[in-house]
C-alpha cells in the first residue's frame, strides 16, 4: 500500500464542474480556513470555515470519487470539496495521514456504503483495503510526468534568469516569483516552491541579496540536474532530493523500512510558526549507534503540535529513518517509553571540528539546511559564541540571547545547537550538570 501516490492537482482540476469553481477552490486551498483535516487511503475530510458560524463539514471518498459537503452550494462537487483535495495533494502536511477517519466522515462513509450495498462498508473508515496496484502505478507515472515537466520548465526559467541577469530579476515584483512558485506547486514540487518564494521575498530587502540569490540559483540548478540524473542516484540521495522538492514519503512506507531500536537522548528541540504552519523539530541521539536524527511534527490551521519531549531525557524507542544520506529524518514507530535514568549530554568538540563535520554532511546532502552540533567549552556573548580556541560563530537571529546569557553567565558551557549557514542556533546548554532547553 503506497500512500505517497496521492493524486495530482491536474486530476483534481479535472473533477471541477466549471472554471469558476476551480478558481474559488484554489483560493481556499490553504491551511488557514481548514481544521480537523485528515486522510486515510480512501477518505479525505476536513472542516472549512466559511462566512457562517459553523464550519462546513467536507468529506471525499476517493474510490468514487464521491463528495459530501454541508454547504448550500448547488454545484457538484462544490469548491470546498475541490479545495480540500487540492490541499491534500500538495503534500505539505496540511492534510495529514490519519489512522481513523473523523466522526462525521466515518458516518457518511458508512451511510454511503450501506446505501449502495457496497461490500467496502467498514473499510472506508479503516485503511485495510488493498488498493489496485495497476491504478497506483498509473498515478505514479502521471505524477512523475508532471514533475518532469515542471523541472524542465524550471530549468528553462533558470537559464533565462542567468541570461538576463540577477539585477533585472531584482526589478521583478514578488508576483513574478510567486508565479514561478505556483507553477512548481502545480507540478507537485511544493518544497522547491517554498524555497523560491523565500528567496524571492528576500531579494528586494536584503543588502546581501546578490550573493544569496546567486547561491540559490546554484542550489536550484543542482536540483534540476539531480532530478534529471535521478536514475543514477542512490536511494539515500533520492531521499534527500525528494525531501527538498517536497515529494513526501508516506509514513507507512518509512515505518516498514529502516527501523533502529535504541535508547535515544533528547538533545534539543525547536519550534517555528510562520503563521501558516507550525513545525517542531526534535533532535535525538542514539546511545548505541551515536547517530543523531530529527523528528519533525507539523500542525496547521487549528491543529496543535504534540507535546515537546523533555530535553535531556532518554527515550527507549524504535525509530524508522526516512531515506536520506545525511542529517536524517526519522519517526517514532510506536510511542516511546521514557527511560528512568536521564541521559548524559555527549561530549562535544571545538567549533572548527563542528564546522568540518557540518561541511561533510553538506557534502553528502547539499539540501540539508542545518546540521546538529555539540560544542564544548562554548562561551556565549551578546551576538556570538566563542570556543576555547577563540574561534567564533554568530548567533542565529532568532536565538534568545538573554536567556542564554542568563543561564551561562558567559562561562564555558557544553552546548547543543543547529549550525545553519554561518550561524548557530543554540537549543540546549548544560549548566552545572543540568541539561536545559532554551
Amino acid at each position: 500500500m503506497t500512500r505517497w501516490t496521492r493524486w495530482t492537482a491536474a486530476q483534481v482540476a479535472g473533477l471541477a464542474p466549471d472554471a469558476s469553481s476551480l478558481a474559488a477552490a484554489r483560493r481556499l486551498a490553504r491551511p488557514g480556513p481548514w481544521s480537523d483535516t485528515g486522510s486515510t487511503d480512501v477518505l479525505v475530510w476536513g472542516k472549512c470555515q466559511g462566512s457562517g458560524k459553523t464550519p462546513y463539514q467536507v468529506s471525499v471518498d476517493l474510490t468514487g470519487p464521491a463528495f459530501r459537503c454541508s454547504c448550500p452550494s448547488r454545484k457538484f462537487p462544490c469548491k470546498h470539496g475541490l479545495a480540500l483535495l487540492l490541499l491534500w495533494v500538495d503534500g505539505s502536511g496540511a492534510v495529514a495521514d490519519a489512522a481513523e477517519a473523523a466522526g462525521f466522515a466515518q458516518e457518511w462513509a458508512a451511510e454511503r456504503s450501506a446505501r449502495t450495498g457496497a461490500k467496502a462498508a467498514g473499510d472506508a473508515a479503516h485503511p485495510t483495503r488493498t488498493p489496485d496496484p495497476a491504478a497506483a502505478a498509473k498515478r505514479l507515472e502521471e505524477r512523475l510526468a508532471l514533475m518532469d515537466g515542471g523541472m524542465d520548465d524550471f530549468a528553462r526559467w533558470l537559464t533565462d534568469l542567468a541570461r538576463s541577469g540577477t539585477a533585472s530579476a531584482r526589478q521583478q515584483s514578488y508576483a513574478w516569483w510567486d508565479g514561478t512558485a505556483a507553477r512548481l506547486v502545480d507540478a507537485q514540487l511544493p518544497g522547491l516552491a517554498d524555497d523560491v518564494r523565500a528567496v524571492g521575498g528576500a531579494v528586494s530587502g536584503r543588502p546581501d541579496w546578490a550573493e544569496r540569490l546567486l547561491v540559490a540559483l546554484g542550489r536550484w540548478w543542482t536540483a534540476t540536474r539531480a532530478w534529471a540524473a535521478r536514475e543514477s542516484l542512490g536511494d539515500d540521495q533520492v531521499g534527500d532530493l525528494r525531501a527538498y522538492l517536497g515529494w513526501s514519503v508516506s509514513s507507512e512506507s518509512v515505518r516498514r523500512g529502516d527501523a533502529v531500536t535504541d535508547r535515544w537522548l533528547v538533545l534539543g528541540a525547536h519550534r517555528t510558526d510562520d503563521g501558516r504552519l507550525q513545525q517542531q523539530r526534535t533532535w535525538l541521539r542514539g546511545h548505541a549507534t551515536g547517530e543523531t536524527v530529527q523528528v519533525l511534527d507539523f500542525a496547521a490551521g487549528g491543529q496543535v503540535l504534540p507535546v515537546a519531549r523533555i530535553v535531556g531525557s532518554s527515550l527507549d524507542a524504535t525509530l524508522a529513518r526516512y531515506p536520506g544520506a545525511a542529517v536524517r529524518r526519522a519517526l517514532f514507530v510506536d510511542e516511546p517509553v521514557v527511560a528512568d535514568a536521564p541521559g548524559r549530554m555527549p561530549s562535544g568538540a571545538s567549533l572548527e571540528h563542528a564546522r568540518s563535520a557540518a561541511a561533510a554532511a553538506w557534502g553528502l546532502n547539499p539540501w540539508a539546511r542545518r546540521c546538529p552540533v555539540v560544542l564544548d567549552e562554548a562561551k556565549v556573548g551578546l551576538d556570538r559564541v566563542v570556543d576555547a580556541e577563540g574561534a567564533s560563530v554568530a548567533l542565529a537571529d532568532d536565538a534568545d540571547v538573554w536567556a542564554l546569557l542568563a543561564v551561562t553567565g558567559g562561562r564555558p558551557t557544553r552546548l547543543f545547537g543547529e549550525l545553519e549557514e554561518a550561524r548557530l542556533r543554540p537549543l540546549t546548554v548544560v549548566v552545572d550538570g543540568e541539561v536545559m532547553g532554551l
Binding site: G165, G218, W221, W362, A406, G410, R411
Partner: protein, 510 residues
C-alpha cells in the same frame, strides 16, 4: 598565483558580476584550481547560462563548506555568587507566578513582591533562568524594582549591565545593598559612609537604621545637619517618625529655629507626638486660660479663642493659618494638638469620654480637630476610643489596640452596608495582616450581605493584603456556593488563589 584561495575569491567575485549583468552581456570566468576538491571543467563547454549556474552551484557549496571561522575575544564572565539560590519549592512558585499568575495577572505584582521580599529575608537569590523575565517585568512595574534588585544575584547584575533597558538595576542595587546590610547585620553605617550616600539611599538607610538603633540613627542625622539642604533636613526629620521618643526632643526643639519653614513645620508636628516635651508644656500653659467650666455643676465647657500670639508662640507653631481658615481658630487647633491630653481632664474635671462629649455639645470643632491630631500622633487608645464614640474617623483607628481596632471596624462595617463605596476606607483602617477572628468575621459579614458581590469588589485590595490564612477554608466554601454571580466567583477565586499561593511562598522559605 601564490595563494589558491585568493584565486577562488577573485573567481567568485567575477561570477557575481556575470550573474548581475546576465550572461547575454558578460562571459563566465573559467573555473579556478579548486585543489583537493578535484572539480574539473567540462570537456565540451556548455551554453554560457549553464556555465554560470554551475559556477553558482560550485561557489555556493564552497562558500558553505569552506567558510573560515572568525576569531573573537571571549565575553567577560559573570562574577561568583555570594548568596544561595532560593529553595526548590520556592523557585517553582516563582516560576508559577511569573508565567501563569494564579489569581489573575492583576495580582501578579503583589505576589511577586511578596516572593522577592521573602527571598531577601531568607538571604537567597533567584535562579538565573528566570532573570530575563523578572528583569523585563521589573522594568515595566516600578514597585518590583527594589525588591527584585536585592535578589538578582551577581548573575542578574552582570546581565542587567549588558542591556540598556535594565540600567535601573545598578541604581536600585546600591540602595538595596545598603539597606540589606543595615537590616541583616543590625549595623548602622559609619558617619563617613552616610555622608557619601545619595539622598534617596540615605532616606532608605535611615529608615532601617532607625528601626535598629534610634539613637545611632539620630546621630547620623546630626552628623550632617549643618551642611544638609533644607530638603534633606526635612526628609531626615520625617524619618525620625519611626521610633520617635523623648531623646529626640532636643534635635526637634533646635529645629524649631530652623531657617526653612518646611523644616520648622515638621519639627512642630513631630513635637505634637511628645506630650512630655517642653513645647507641650508651653502649649498647655497657653491653653489653660482659655478653657472654662460652665453651668451650675461645672458640667459644661467653654473654650475662648486665643489672642494674637507672641514670638515664642509663633515659634511653637502658632503662625500663619492655612488658606480659608480663621487665624484664631487655627491657633486653638494648634494648641489643642500640642498640649498634653491630660490638661483637658485637669481643666474639665472629667474623664476623656465625658470631656469629648462636653466639647462636642459645646460645638468646639477647632479643639476637636486638634485633639484628633494629638491622638493620632501619640496613638492614645483611651482618647481615640472616646473620640470614635462621638463619630467615625478611620484615621483614629490605628491608635487603638488591635483587638479594639478590629472591633470598631466590624461595628462600622455593620453600619455601612448600604454605603458600599465607604467600605474600602473602613476595612482599610485596620492595617494588615489581620487577626484570624477579624478575617473570618469580616468574610462572614460580606457573605451574609445582599450586596456581598459589590462589597467584595470595594474591599478587594484590603482583602488581598489583610486576610489571615485561616480564612482560606470559609473562602473555599463561599466559592463553592457563589455559583451564579460570575463577577463574585471570579473575585473570590482570585482571592483564594492569591492567599494560598502567598501562604505557600512563606512556607517555602521556612
Amino acid at each position: 598565483m601564490t595563494d589558491p584561495m585568493s584565486g577562488v575569491d577573485t573567481w567568485w567575485g567575477e561570477v557575481g558580476n556575470a550573474a548581475l549583468l546576465g550572461t547575454a552581456r558578460r562571459a563566465v570566468p573559467d573555473l579556478p584550481d579548486l585543489g583537493p576538491a578535484g572539480v574539473r571543467p567540462r570537456e565540451v563547454p556548455g551554453p554560457r547560462e549553464e556555465a554560470l549556474l554551475e559556477a553558482a552551484a560550485l561557489g555556493g557549496a564552497a562558500l558553505r563548506a569552506g567558510r573560515r571561522l572568525d576569531h573573537a575575544a571571549p565575553p567577560a564572565a559573570a562574577p561568583d555568587e555570594t548568596r544561595p539560590v532560593a529553595p526548590r519549592r520556592a523557585v517553582q512558585l516563582l516560576e508559577l507566578v511569573l508565567t501563569q499568575p494564579p489569581a489573575g495577572a492583576a495580582q501578579r505584582v503583589g505576589l511577586l513582591v511578596h516572593w522577592l521580599r521573602a527571598a531577601d529575608d531568607a538571604g537567597c537569590r533567584v535562579p538565573p533562568v528566570v532573570l530575563p523575565l523578572l528583569l523585563g517585568m521589573a522594568t515595566a512595574s516600578r514597585e518590583l524594582r527594589r525588591p527584585a534588585a536585592a535578589v538578582l544575584g551577581e548573575r542578574g547584575r552582570w546581565l542587567a549591565a549588558l542591556r540598556e533597558e535594565w540600567g535601573w538595576v545598578a541604581e536600585a542595587t546600591a540602595g538595596a545593598e545598603a539597606r540589606t546590610a543595615s537590616r541583616l547585620s543590625g549595623a548602622v553605617p559609619a558617619a563617613d559612609d552616610w555622608a557619601r550616600l545619595s539622598s534617596t539611599d540615605r532616606a532608605a538607610v535611615l529608615a532601617s537604621a532607625r528601626a535598629v538603633d534610634a539613637a545611632d540613627a539620630r546621630a547620623l542625622v546630626e552628623s550632617t545637619w549643618s551642611t544638609d539642604s533644607a530638603r534633606d533636613r526635612r526628609s531626615h526629620l520625617e524619618a525620625l517618625r519611626v521610633g520617635l521618643g523623648a531623646d529626640d526632643e532636643s534635635l526637634l526643639e533646635a529645629a524649631l529655629d530652623d531657617r526653612a519653614g518646611t523644616v520648622r513645620e515638621v519639627a512642630a508636628e513631630l513635637l505634637d507626638a511628645l506630650p512630655g516635651s517642653r513645647r507641650a508644656a508651653r502649649m498647655a500653659e497657653r491653653l489653660r486660660p482659655l478653657v472654662h467650666r460652665t453651668g451650675m455643676l461645672g458640667r459644661g465647657v467653654d473654650v475662648t479663642l486665643p489672642d494674637e500670639p507672641d514670638p515664642a508662640a509663633v515659634r511653637d507653631g502658632l503662625g500663619k493659618p492655612p488658606p480659608r481658615r480663621s487665624a484664631r481658630g487655627w491657633w486653638l487647633e494648634q494648641l489643642s494638638a500640642g498640649a498634653p491630653l491630660e490638661v483637658w481632664s485637669e481643666l474639665t474635671g472629667a474623664d476623656p469620654a465625658t470631656t469629648v462629649k462636653r466639647l462636642t455639645d459645646a460645638q468646639q470643632p477647632d479643639v476637636l480637630a486638634g485633639l484628633r491630631r494629638a491622638v493620632r500622633a501619640r496613638r492614645d487608645p483611651v482618647w481615640a476610643a472616646a473620640l470614635l464614640e462621638r463619630g467615625w474617623d478611620a484615621t483614629l483607628v490605628p491608635a487603638l489596640p488591635r483587638e479594639a481596632r478590629e472591633r470598631v471596624a466590624l461595628q462600622r462595617v455593620d453600619a455601612t452596608t448600604d454605603r458600599v463605596h465607604e467600605l474600602g476606607a473602613v476595612v482599610g483602617a485596620v492595617d494588615p495582616p489581620w487577626s484570624p477572628d477579624f478575617s473570618v468575621a469580616l468574610l462572614s459579614r460580606l457573605r451574609a450581605s445582599k450586596v456581598g458581590s459589590a462589597m467584595v469588589l470595594a474591599t478587594m485590595p484590603h482583602l488581598l493584603a489583610g486576610l489571615h490564612p485561616v480564612s482560606l477554608d470559609p473562602l473555599e466554601r463561599w466559592v463553592a456556593e457563589a455559583g451564579g454571580d460570575q463577577a463574585l466567583s471570579t473575585n473570590l477565586r482570585n482571592l483564594l488563589q492569591f492567599h494560598s499561593v502567598k501562604r505557600s511562598i512563606t512556607e517555602a522559605f521556612r
